[in-house]
């Protein structure tokens, strides 16, 4: 045996040992895309104030990185656009991944045993120029920089597009990755990507979040993210004492991971989860944390916000849907939520309500006048609000039977109250592209292979009324479990 062979064998052995040594308590090493290091990862851009002049960056390192910095420069076409970049000190939060402690109690996360703590760093850039491309990068340990990411601030007026995703939740890295990347290919200049709750299955699981960040990769850092919390972003904590009380609270990973608007008029538990973003004169977005038990306070907040909003298009997003087939309406919370919010949404004639939760696709509208006949291509109908349920992950629920769709769509869906069910799909992860150009909002729902499955246009008249025109894709064959490929639950996806 030559020395070279011995040495090669030895170094292989050492590498193997090293690979298995981490983390403590796991027999198997963490996937490289999960383990925290002194290099920045999970880098994400979010909107936390005025999108025309501010955006935030958040990133993660291991706990060896105490204080660190961020840099920003206006992106130019020069080779060294980075000369003269400004440097700022980041805010750092330490998160104990193994034991989550909140005011209502604590949770031992069995998902995170052996992971210890991680540091999340963040910074909000302010005083930026509207509609301007910026380059920014973040540091972990000294000299451990990310690449330069380019992110554009909002324009105060003009066309806007954004992408909206329903629940990613299951098979996030294996299969949802293709959905977010297809969305990026479809709408690369989107102003933001909106995730309508249940981003992951287990809100406490660092592995689950690692999947979510890995699936988006650098997209998360280029296109600002608007995350909406869902019920799966909640965890269960137990109070201390002889008779522990069980409470559902938002995962303590949410706020460190995402830097979002803080609204002091709301209770503490809604900070960075219930917020509004006035994107431009044409778009005002209202995010409702529908997984909390405080609908009345949130309805009051929404009412005030909508009363003061002059934006042309006003969109509410929340995880739980506003409409559901009655057969699926098992959760009385949903009814309570609707009761609290429906009058506000109706009063202000909110244009769109974007939701998730049901792991299916459904689009319904509230007509200004009762419809009897099914709408035909090219017809324009006056509507008050359009409601969408969508899902982008691998889990899908079979709730639309062929009979039911025929009945619902054909008869104006009288079983949904006053709503008219315009388009449904089963077994089909989807992403939606919304484009706003003055008085016209164009919507399309696309499948993971990029095909347009559903489309409509809303046009605002001078009197403020909305005319809904169905697009041709809305009249294609309905995708259901009965006429698509085989389905299997997501358990085997890793």
């Amino acid at each position: 045996m030559s020395l070279r062979v011995i040495l090669a064998g030895f170094s292989t052995l050492l590498m193997t040992v090293a690979a298995q040594a981490h983390p403590i308590g796991h027999s198997e090493p963490l996937p490289p895309w999960q383990a925290a290091t002194s290099w920045p990862d999970r880098v994400i851009a979010t909107l936390s104030g005025d999108p025309a002049t501010e955006f935030s960056a958040t990133w993660r390192t291991d706990i060896s990185v105490g204080r660190t910095i961020i840099q920003i420069a206006e992106a130019t076409a020069d080779t060294r656009f980075d000369l003269g970049a400004e440097t700022y000190r980041a805010k750092t939060e330490s998160v104990d991944l193994e034991t989550f402690r909140v005011s209502d109690g604590a949770m031992e996360s069995l998902e995170n045993v052996g992971l210890g703590k991680a540091h999340y760093h963040s910074y909000t850039f302010t005083g930026l120029k509207p509609d301007t491309l910026y380059a920014w990068r973040v540091q972990g340990g000294r000299g451990h920089w990310s690449e330069w990411y380019q992110t554009r601030t909002a324009s105060t007026s003009g066309p806007i597009s954004f992408v909206y995703f329903g629940d990613a939740q299951n098979g996030v890295r294996p299969t949802w990755s293709r959905v977010i990347r297809a969305a990026f290919q479809t709408e690369p200049y989107a102003a933001f990507f909106l995730h309508a709750g249940d981003l992951v299955q287990k809100g406490d699981s660092d592995y689950n979040w690692a999947e979510w960040f890995e699936a988006g990769g650098f997209i998360h850092a280029m296109i600002p993210v608007v995350p909406v919390p869902g019920n799966h972003e909640n965890i269960t904590v137990f109070s201390e004492g002889p008779s522990p009380k069980r409470t559902r609270v938002r995962t303590p990973l949410w706020r460190p991971q995402f830097t979002l608007p803080v609204d002091k008029s709301l209770p503490d538990h809604l900070q960075e989860s219930n917020y509004d973003l006035r994107y431009s004169d044409d778009l005002h977005l209202f995010v409702i944390d529908s997984a909390q038990d405080t609908f009345d306070a949130q309805a009051t907040w929404l009412d005030e916000k909508l009363s003061n909003s002059t934006a042309k298009w006003r969109i509410v997003t929340m995880h739980h849907p506003y409409f559901l087939p009655e057969s699926f309406d098992r959760n009385r919370d949903d009814a309570a939520r609707r009761a609290a919010l429906s009058s506000v949404i109706d009063k202000h004639e909110v244009d769109l309500v974007l939701t998730g939760h049901v792991h299916t696709y459904g689009r319904a509208s509230l007509p200004e006048t009762q419809q009897t006949a099914r709408r035909a291509l090219g017809d324009a109908n006056a509507v008050r609000t359009v409601f969408v349920i969508s899902s982008s992950g691998a889990k899908n629920t079979d709730i639309w039977s062929a009979d039911r769709v025929e009945q619902s769509v054909g008869d104006g869906a009288t079983d949904l109250g006053d709503l008219s069910l315009d388009r449904v799909a089963g077994n089909t992860p989807m992403f939606q592209v919304l484009r706003i150009n003055g008085d016209v909002l164009s919507y399309e729902a696309r499948t993971a292979i990029g095909d347009i499955y559903d489309a409509f246009q809303l046009r605002k008249t001078v009197t403020g009324q909305k005319q809904l025109t169905q697009g041709a894709p809305a009249f294609g064959e309905t995708r259901l479990f009965s006429n698509t490929g085989p389905y299997r639950e997501w358990w085997d996806l890793r």
């Binding site: 292989t12 981490h22 383990a35 389905y487």
Partner: protein
Amino acid sequence: MINRLLACFALIGLVCSPALAHPNHAPAAPPWQFPSSWPDRIIVSPGKDPQTILTLTWRTDATVSSAIAEYTIASADSRFDIGALPKAARYERVDFSQTNYAADRGGPPNEGLGPVHYHSVTLDGLEPDTLYAYRVRGAQGHWSEWFQTRTAPTEGAVSFLYYGDAQYGILSHASRIFRQGLLSAPNARFVLHAGDLVNKGDRDLEWGEWFQASGFIHAMIPVIPVAGNHEYLETPDGGTKDGKGVLTDLWRPMFTLPVTKSLPKSLRETVFDMRISKDLHVFVLDSSSPYWNEQLDWLVATASSSDATWKVIGMHHSPYRPGLQGYVNNPDRGDFHRARQDAFIAAAERAEINLILAGHNHSYTRASLGDDVGPGLPDAQARVVLGQKREVDLVVIVSISGAMSGNMTPEHFAKNKQKFSDDISLERWATNTPTYQVVRIDGNVLNVASHLGTGEVYDAFSLTRSQDGTVTLQNLAPAFGTVRNFDTTGPYKDKADLR
């Protein structure tokens, strides 16, 4: 003897320490450089027939010797993956203690890195213009995500991206060019990197940066890499400069590219052609190889028998060398290059090549060759005006994606041009300006847009091919904007501070 062996082990232990420790404890090395039993550096490339063949290549540590891929036609279903077909991978072991390295550096550049395995699979018998989903596996259960990638179409419009040298600031700076390119051409059919992807072709860290800079793009949009002189290692007797270097041992494991059997063995996976579609035939040359005339003979034979509407060459060195002082000042080297260039132009004309995509000069230049191209720059006034068309034989583009800019000027160009040919006209140039190019082919029209790092279009032209095969060039509006050079742009700093 035992003592000496132990000493050796201790030494190796020290040398290996960056790899041995978890990335947490290895301050100098980023975590994305290290191999693991999970797949990384995943890249898809077109096969010889891009309509029916795609190749997949990925890396793991040396613990993984039986990797597989799975693939299926992508559908809109939740579980599109049910029924995917497995395919066993081959692997090539890269032992950094054995790989070649440049003679001008004292020792191996990859100290401390253990051996790695590059796995590859060729998917053949695919359907044209079809979206496929695939994933690759390292150790048991260690799968990549499912990537979606599309085979080339038999006919119809095709667009693709082309990048010049990344080389310096690959992750820090060139990444924005690669990603901005995807924004401008999200449905590009392939991405061509025209050589000098890295600065030191034998250094794993730089390849780690190169893969990290594009991330999942490499696994979605098939990549055609071209070998440049920095993928070659300089030999003690004159380096690559006179065509005597050797290709880095990392190239063939990292990429799975067509082998042209009729050419010398040293050109396998660096010289090949791909008939993308009815309208487009791509030829990749290895301009750093000593076997130049062999490549040109092959080019003439292959391209002349091609009935594609457009014939495009990707090669690292452009057939002229604006801004390269050595060319002017060193007659020996000048003669060497000139001989190669003259031979190339003769071959390209015989092969009826329309477009050459090159790098090397760290600047942006676009030039036309032909009998009737006019004086061109630096006499900018004489240049054809917006809207006018004229016949050209060949268009040559040189661009740069990385963070080192050369200082080519029209004066350099004119000086070199005299040595080269009068039938060449410089249409547009820039320094201090990384760009990416989107090439769109639709039947008889080929459009090129050169974008800045901010996405704006800096240069644009179209080529139109008539029935009789003549090609007319039309400069489009962006070609007439203010010239970007060191006087008209922001400050520049040499690459020394870049990681």
